[in-house]
Symmetry: D2
Subunit: 278 residues, 4 copies
């Protein structure tokens, strides 16, 4: 009853379509940055009752998803997140997926997205997820360390500017009783100093004392930690195999809420940039 | 207590880094295919007890995630999935995200990934998800209708070849008591006809009678369906506004398990290819 | 006296820099158009005393250079030139230089440029070339026959519009005694019909009677021609080897000054578009 | 007699084809190298009686064409040529043609090609050019100074290896009376030291004393030179306008035949690499 002998032939007849696939390798010896952004997160945050201007649960969930990505892609040397965006920096010399841009960005965006949903319930125990969220991603290449630092500074300066704006805006709305439109009008043409002044004089808020996570965003770096594990082994003194406590070094992702615009951070973490492959 | 006046300036000082971003528009008047593949799904399927050679729950979950993608991106005219892969075809004239390849592929992969996790529990009620799965994606352009059909034929021929192999392999292992290695040895150099013969004479399986979803994969197309909804309105006969049952046409994603290599399918769905923008 | 043994080693130490080269293949099954344009040709034409609005010698030289290109790249199925630009169309299925865009455009631009200088003296016997001219090039891909025809129509419509403008402008200057600025003012806001009217009523010029090369530009196509050559051979009738006149078919580049916007040209030259590889 | 009023409309109807053109900007802050190579120069050199292993006239003509290119593109900071190839290095910060790869490579290849023909007669007074030569070009990006130096070192090491081989090969043929095949056999598996020994012991040639241009190729750099010109002007001492000799600085292309693999050259020309835009 069988007439399948032509199938492998059929497949090979169609296989020419593979020639239409393209390679898109990233230039060697260049920092690869992959930034992802939430899609329609304004609506998503409303639908899920995010507190304004910052929802701690949502930010921690973003960080949790980013940690999953870093643990999967050990060539990421630093990540930076704020609001509904996260940037991942692959080391200059990475050969992950032969540096193919499509592979890198889709894998990272996919892993981030599925992790975000996977860990949702843990961070939002009282708020069921209504529908699966989406993120988009892009690849950007930076040839020099200075370019890379300027990129990260750009994102952190953006975090600060938006957070100051949002803190002021929501104080006017939530505590000042303004409508959204009134609040917007009020601060549209103000400078940073003006917004600080409004917060301080009208609402008694010293912006400097706001949580660092809100003002600085989240930096993820690797830290070597000592870990005590139980292994069955011998020692120099005791030739019998038995379970023993052993100390070993392990790389672990650590979140920081610190300034990365100035030099201090980079002097304290010299290993991030120092790699010199060529 | 405020010293933030330099921040906006700082941001603009760093903003030059945006010049390093590139555009990657897809050639106009060309079919855009986005294919995603499960990452390490061999291990993932083992970790989650997928039945072999096909797990109906897993295939339905893939289809469910793909439907979510199609409902989000209405310019997808047809999708095709098998095993842990899915291909989405955007119409030639789509201007979605200005046809930017990065945006298109990351959005689709992201939406698929988060939907896969979101709908997991519904399809695997007795099997908790252990960890978030990953998918990768790629963009491929096809200039002609023939190229596009050959691409889809290639995937469906691949589905058939793999499924016949797997059906035979797992019969030898599960019913024939062979080890994986023995089963592999047995069928390594056989043709399709040989595998059909093994299935029939040794296990009484007529491959033709295997489920169409396993043999053909899953095709998703749009179907116009009539929907009865209640609307408060007037009619020609009755000028008073009152709730009435109204019939309207709606596009709905429909899964098919049918041959797309031959001409019949395309003759029955002329609208998929007929679009002629230029 | 020799210390060179390290050189081959040195070379291999540096050879990693080849990894920075990229491939840039053109999408298969797509028309490849390469258009080149004269660089600073306004100045070049003044420096070399080109007659205005059209210099027959210069146009013939452009055509001569384009013919050289076509004879070198037999996969060019049609070329179109006007003013200081020329477009070359490579057949959809060409595998020349593995369809690498850089190779294709640089070779064609290089061959055109060196030919332009090489043949200069023949077309400008009384006007020495003052300095080497430059051309730039670009690659454009067109997926469908309609797109390709529209591209060529665009260039020919451009030729017509510019030529009508220039013919009118230079009549006003050369015969009407206007300054450049006055002539420009006069025709800036006119339609085609107005320019025709000016030419006819003020200068007795019927634009329709202007040379076709000026109005339509130059189309280069292949024509099979019979050629009589002398070969030393036998025939069925005469078994002795001796020199004989033999007729053979040869492809030859032929310049036409004809409309390529309408259907007539394409119906008369069905072979240009009919190739159907996929 | 006029029916052209539809032409401008026609043009705009076709103008959509411009959307198919792509941008191809080079990554900012990255060295842009454009290398061109002679096409079929083996045959070209035979057809034009080049002396072997090196033809001084041909090398000088290559240098002359490269100088023309540099004088046209002042953002080229260094060039390197050998045999039938030349590499041009554009400074990291160049914004020439908005860093568009196609524009840069086609302009440079075009200018080089037309200059090669333009200056031919001057360098080959007794050898007419038989046909226009062709060159191809490519663009390569290098992020770091080390990568760039390694690229140039790679080309110079290649020059040395080829020249030693060719010098030895042609000595065996021209002075040793071997056929090409015999000479090839003789040196195929030898090291540099062996070839030096053959040259010295069999032909009395000390390779070290061969011309530097043959051994090292040609490096083109900018040199600031004082130039005395006559200008009509006043001075502080003499308020009357009269013609005076004035000294001014001018950048001039200078050819060198020197080692660029070691550090000495780069220490003596610190300005080539020192530019630090970001």
């Amino acid at each position: 009853p069988f007439s399948f002998s032509t199938s492998a032939m059929a497949k090979s007849k169609f296989e020419y379509v593979r020639q239409f696939e393209t390679q898109d390798p990233c230039l060697p010896n260049t920092w690869i940055v992959i930034r992802l952004d939430g899609r329609n997160f304004h609506r998503f945050s409303t639908d899920h009752g995010f507190t304004k201007p910052n929802d701690e649960r949502a930010l921690h969930l973003m960080t949790r998803a980013a940690e999953t990505v870093m643990n999967d892609f050990r060539d990421i040397v630093i990540s930076y997140g704020q609001s509904d965006e996260f940037s991942f920096v692959l080391k200059k010399s990475t050969m992950l997926y032969s540096r193919r841009a499509s592979k890198l960005m889709t894998h990272i965006v996919s892993q981030f997205s599925s992790s975000y949903v996977f860990h949702w319930a843990q961070h939002f125990p009282d708020q069921p997820l209504q529908y699966p969220p989406g993120f988009d991603g892009r690849v950007i290449l930076y040839p020099s360390n200075k370019n890379l630092r300027d990129y990260l500074s750009w994102r952190q300066a953006d975090c600060h500017i938006n957070n100051l704006y949002n803190t002021c805006f929501w104080a006017l709305v939530q505590q000042g009783g303004m409508t959204n439109t009134q609040a917007e009008e009020r601060i549209r043409h103000t400078f940073s100093a003006d917004k600080n002044e409004i917060l301080f004089s009208e609402f008694g808020i010293n912006y400097n004392n706001e949580p660092e996570m809100y003002k600085k965003g989240t930096v993820l770096v690797w830290k070597k930690v000592e870990e005590t594990v139980t292994r069955t082994c011998r020692t120099a003194e005791d030739p019998v195999e038995r379970p023993r406590e052993v100390t070993k070094l392990r790389k672990k992702v650590v979140p920081l809420h610190t300034d990365i615009i100035g030099d201090v951070f980079w002097e304290e973490h010299p290993d991030i940039l120092e790699e010199e492959c060529f």
